[in-house]
Structures are given as C-alpha cells and as structure tokens.
C-alpha cells in the first residue's frame, strides 16, 4: 500500500478528530462541572458554522477575524444560555437538563431549517482551493488552519484548567462540589465560565470547519450524538479523555473509510461506546475533570 496514501488518510483523520475533540471537550467540561448533558451542544457548532458562512460570504472579513468574531459570539451565547436557562437547573435533575436542552436544540435546529432550508452551503473564496505541500503531503489551507486552531485551543484549555485560579476552581467543583463550596468557591461563577468555554469551543469548531465541509442546519444534530459517545468512551467529565478518544475516532474512521467500502462508519462510535460500557463502565480514562 502506498505510504503517502496512508499518511494522507491519517492527516485527514487528524483534522476531523481535532474538530470532534473541540466539541467533545466542551461537552465534557459542561458535564463535569454542571452535571448537565447539553443536547443543544451540536446546535452551537452548527450556528458557529452558519455564522462563519454568512460572515465570509456577506462581508469582506478575512479568515482570522471571522474565526475570532464567531468564537467570541459563541462565548457570549454561552453566557446568555447559562444565565437564562442552565443556571436555574443547578444540581436539579439530570433528566430535566436533558429535556430542557433537547427543547432548545429542537427550536434552534428546526428554526434554522425553517429560515435557511436544508440546502448545504459551501464557502468559496481564494482560501478554499489553496493547498500547502509539506514533505510530499498536500493539505488544503483551511484544513491546516483547523488543525492548528484545534491544537491551540487544546493547549489553551490545558493552561486555563491547570495554571489559573479559575481553572483550578473548576476542577475543584467537578471533583467535589460540597468541598469546593466550603473553601469559598462560587459554584455559579465556575459553572458560568464552564458553559462560556464549552459553547465558545463549539462555535470555534463550527467556524473552523465551515471552509472545509458544507454547512447546513442539521449538521450539528448528527454530530452531537457522536460527541456523546466520545465523552462516554473517554470517561464522563474527563476532558483529556474526550480529546484523545475524539482524535482516535477521527483517525480510525478515516482509515476505515479509506480501505473498506463506506458502510456503517457512523456506527463505529456507538458500537464502541456500548462495548466500553459493558467492559469498562467508567470509560477508558476514568471519571473526573482532568487534562
């Protein structure tokens, strides 16, 4: 088998894996700190991609300002989401959080379908078709940037969780809510920040992927379920477990897609999740917010 073909597949898988990781890390962070499963998480990824599409096709904004603007916008949406809906749920029922965010997801997704129809849209500008060649491997520029952005976001999250007081407080709340409260950590501030970071990462993933793949209103729906499987395989609330699982899944899916007929690649994450739950119920990397 041609080596460069395999490397090409691995590179493609890595890009997908990093995008999975951005969405799954945010989901895992929100679960770890708030114990809320955010069903609407994929819709923010979709909204990020839609916003990036409209910004880059409707305005003369460049690639980087678009990414920055969408990420900041998503973070603001996360703030509003926490204050308006999720804040009132604090410590009050897993089922209620699922149903509430499911309702939000239905509104956002079907509202987007109603407004924009399900037609896929593609960003086309000078960047879309330019490629970079590294040591015989060709990679399109938007893919390279998406990869870089994902790795940078991962590094930034690591620094925030380990080197800042706020990040340490976040891990504290995830490990033991009562103890964190007793040493004077404000759980609302911590939870708000977790939601802001989580939704911001989701928007970033959407904006980074918009120039690579077609953008359409149901893209988040299929994606978020795969992200659920990823965070369970990686261990609920375990942010780095989610990141590793996401990248591994991207690579495996890409390899399978390259060598075998494209059947049931989508099923891989779900089957993997059920198998993991049977044999290692706490996931591959164990529970708890760790990076």
């Amino acid at each position: 088998m041609d080596l460069s073909f395999i490397l090409q597949l691995l590179l493609g898988g890595l890009v997908i894996g990093v995008i999975y990781a951005l969405v799954a890390m945010g989901l895992s962070l929100i679960f770890g700190v708030l114990e809320i499963v955010n069903f609407a998480h994929g819709e923010f990824y979709m909204l990020g991609a839609m916003a990036a599409f409209f910004l880059s096709s409707g305005t003369s904004l460049g690639y980087w300002p678009t990414i920055l603007l969408v990420t900041l916008g998503a973070a603001c949406v996360g703030y509003v989401l926490y204050e308006a809906l999720l804040g009132s749920l604090q410590g009050e029922g897993f089922e209620r959080s699922i149903l509430l965010t499911l309702g939000l997801s239905m509104v956002l997704q079907n509202g987007a379908v109603y407004l924009f129809t399900t037609t896929p849209r593609m960003i086309s500008n000078s960047l879309t078709y330019s490629t970079v060649t590294i040591g015989g491997l060709r990679i399109s520029e938007p893919r390279l940037y998406a990869l870089g952005l994902g790795l940078a976001a991962f590094a930034a999250l690591f620094v925030v969780l380990h080197r800042t007081r706020m990040g340490k407080a976040m891990r504290g709340v995830a490990q033991n809510r009562e103890a964190a409260l007793m040493v004077g950590i404000d759980p609302r501030a911590v939870a708000r920040l977790a939601v802001v970071i989580g939704i911001g990462l989701s928007g970033l993933a959407g904006a980074a992927l918009a120039p690579v793949y077609a953008v359409h209103p149901v893209m988040g729906f299929a994606f978020v379920f795969k992200a659920f499987a990823i965070i369970i395989i990686g261990g609920l609330g375990n942010v780095s477990g989610a990141a590793f699982t996401a990248i591994a899944l991207g690579l495996i899916e890409s390899l399978i897609g390259g060598f075998l007929p494209l059947v049931m690649v989508d099923a891989l994450a779900f089957v993997g999740m059920i198998v993991i739950l049977l044999f290692k119920p706490h996931g591959l990397f164990g529970r708890g917010v760790r990076v």
């Binding site: 897993f94 699922i98 309702g103 509202g111 099923a267």
Partner: protein, 356 residues
C-alpha cells in the same frame, strides 16, 4: 412539585396508582372512551378522521409505554423509537420474505424489540440511570444506521415498499382481509385499547407502586426488599414489546417500511406528549397524546414550524410546570385535601399559617 408532595400523593392515592381520582373513574372513563373510539367508523365514514384515529392510537401506545418507563420507573428513554422500528422491520421482513402471517410477524417483532430492550437495559443500568439515557439514545441511532446501511438485510434507504394487504385468521375459522381504512382502524385501535388496558393494570398494581417507589427513593425501596433492576427491566421490556408490536402493525397501514421509522421526530413527539401530560399520570398522557396527535394536523403546520413550537413548549413546561398537566391536577387535588374541613374550621385556621 416537591418530593414530600410526591410522597404524600404516593401514599394518598397509591391504591389506584395515582391514575384516577376515585375508584370508579378510570374503568368508566376507559369503557366510554373505548366504546366511542370503536363506534367512530359507524358514525362517520370520513377517512381523514380514521387516519387521525390511527395516528392517535399508534402514538398512545408509544407514549404510554414511555410513561411507564419514565413516569413510573424513572428512566428517561430514547429507545422507544428503536423498538418501534425493530418491530416494524421484523414484521415486514418476515411477512414479505418468509410468508409469515401478520399476527406472528408482529409478535416476533415485539419479542425481538423486548430482547433488545433487555440487552441495553441490563448492560447500562449496572452503571446508572444516566448511562441508560445515553445508551438508549445511541441504540436508537444505531438502529437507524443499521436499517440504512445493512442493505442486504433491510434493502437500505429505499426500504420495502408495497407491503401486502394482511389477511388475518380469526378465531372460529374466519378470515379477515385488512383492506379498507376502517379495517386498519379497528386493527390498530383495537390493539391500542388492549395495550392501554395492560399498561393501566401494571400501573395500578403492586408492580406500578414498586416502580414509583423506586423512582421516588431508590435506596429506601431497596431496603423494603424491592429489587430495582428487575422492576426497571420489566418496565423497559413491557414498553418494548408493545412498541415493537404496534410498529409491526403500523407499517402495514403505511404499506412501506424504510429507515424513517427510526426518525428522531417520533422520539421528540412522544417525549413532548409524556412531558405535557405529566410523567406518571395515565390519563394526563393519554389526553396530551390525543391533543398533540390531532392538533398540529388540523392546524396544518409545516413540520419545521411544528417542531420549533414543540421545542418552545418543552422549554416552557420544564421551566414552569415540571409535572405537566397530570402533576398540576394532582397538586390541586392535594391542596383541596389539605383545606380545612368545614366542621374543623377552628383547627384549620390555626393550621393555615403552617408549612405547606
């Protein structure tokens, strides 16, 4: 509703499972409703009305099954649509490829759905009920992917069109060719009535009370000798059998089965029916199912707009009335019970300032 209010209601109307106000209400209402439903084809030949009736009957089996699993056993499940689709595919394939009759095909569909329900329930409930929610969701998605991609078995995205008109043998050597809309109406409404009766009997028996006890306080129920896993699995398996069988019957009414029987739309719709009606309230869920099965169709909403509306309703109910209509009615009833009796007015005024 607070936990103490729920526990009080469990004690107060535990005898009829919290499903009716007085002993005579539920049997009488059920009898009247069943008679009215069975008389519809005689009174009105409108095929549109019959189609609405079939849709109500089909959804009522799904939503009452979900009510048993979520409202009684306390497990949020997304797997109902998977059971429904498994039953639909099993019945269709057995009838078309193996020449089985619809009865045996639908029963086989129910059995297979029950086996799937047992497997995912047993695997995930060892961990937690949270894991069950997520596993049930992934199970439903997996079912759709299998139906779409395992082309040699399920014929892929095209599905199996043109299912034959079923011919059923009835007791006494009679043959019943299910051709007219009224025939399908009787078939599916009849099945739904039987299924509702079964669900009602389970809910109002010891089994239902044990499930409610597990939902309210699992360690306490366990200390009374109730095995939570067995009751949870019973609820899942029972709802799976009924969903699988109604799926098997319903696709012959549609005369086609394709991967859209696993559509997330069904899950969202039956969840809304249970949430608005009130988890744990038999008549509440049946009422909201009737309204939601007919209303959007009568108002001629497009699907997108309907789902936006459902989503808004879901958010509003979760924020304002977490107990749904059934929970609201029950709270009112408890408040009436707590009001001082006329003869004990003096004691009542003293109590009025006490904690509620």
């Amino acid at each position: 509703m607070t936990r103490t209010a729920q526990e009080a209601s469990l004690n107060a109307d535990g005898a009829d499972g919290g499903t009716g106000y007085r002993g005579w209400f539920s049997p009488l209402a059920g009898l009247l409703l069943a008679t009215a439903l069975l008389l519809v084809p005689f009174l009105s030949p409108s095929e549109y009305l019959l189609a609405l009736g079939v849709s109500f009957a089909m959804f009522s089996v799904l939503s009452s099954g979900l009510n048993l699993v979520y409202g009684y056993a306390g497990l949020l499940s997304f797997a109902q649509v998977g059971f429904f689709g498994i039953g639909a595919y099993t019945a269709a394939l057995l009838v078309v490829e193996r020449g089985w009759s619809l009865w045996t095909g639908a029963v086989a569909g129910g059995v297979l759905a029950a086996a799937a329900g047992f497997a995912i329930g047993y695997a995930s409930l060892r961990l937690s009920r949270h894991a069950f929610a997520i596993v049930s969701l992934c199970f439903a998605l997996l079912c759709m992917i299998v139906a779409r991609d395992w082309v040699s078995l399920t014929r892929g995205a095209m599905g199996i069109p043109g299912l034959p008109t079923p011919e059923l043998s009835l007791p006494g050597g009679l043959r019943w060719r299910v051709v007219r809309p009224a025939d399908f109406y009787y078939l599916i409404v009849g099945f739904a009535i039987a299924a509702q009766l079964l669900i009602y009997l389970v809910m109002s028996s010891r089994l239902g009370r044990a499930m409610r006890a597990i939902k309210l306080n699992e360690p306490l129920a366990q200390s009374q000798g109730i095995n939570p896993l067995a009751y949870k699995l019973l609820a899942i398996v029972l709802s799976a059998v009924l969903a699988g069988m109604v799926g098997g019957l319903f696709v012959f009414y549609l005369s086609i089965v394709d991967p859209s029987v696993f559509d997330f739309y069904y899950t969202e719709t039956m969840l809304i029916m249970v949430i608005i009606g009130g988890p744990g309230s038999f008549w509440g869920v049946l009422g909201s199912t009737a309204v939601l099965a007919a209303l959007p169709d009568l108002l001629r909403f497009t699907t997108d707009l309907r789902m936006v509306l459902y989503g808004l309703v879901l958010i509003a109910v979760m924020l304002l009335f977490p107990g749904g209509i059934g929970g609201w009615l029950q709270r009112r009833r408890l408040a009436r019970w707590r009001r001082p009796k006329p003869g004990r007015a003096a004691a009542g005024t003293l109590d009025a300032g006490g904690p509620r």
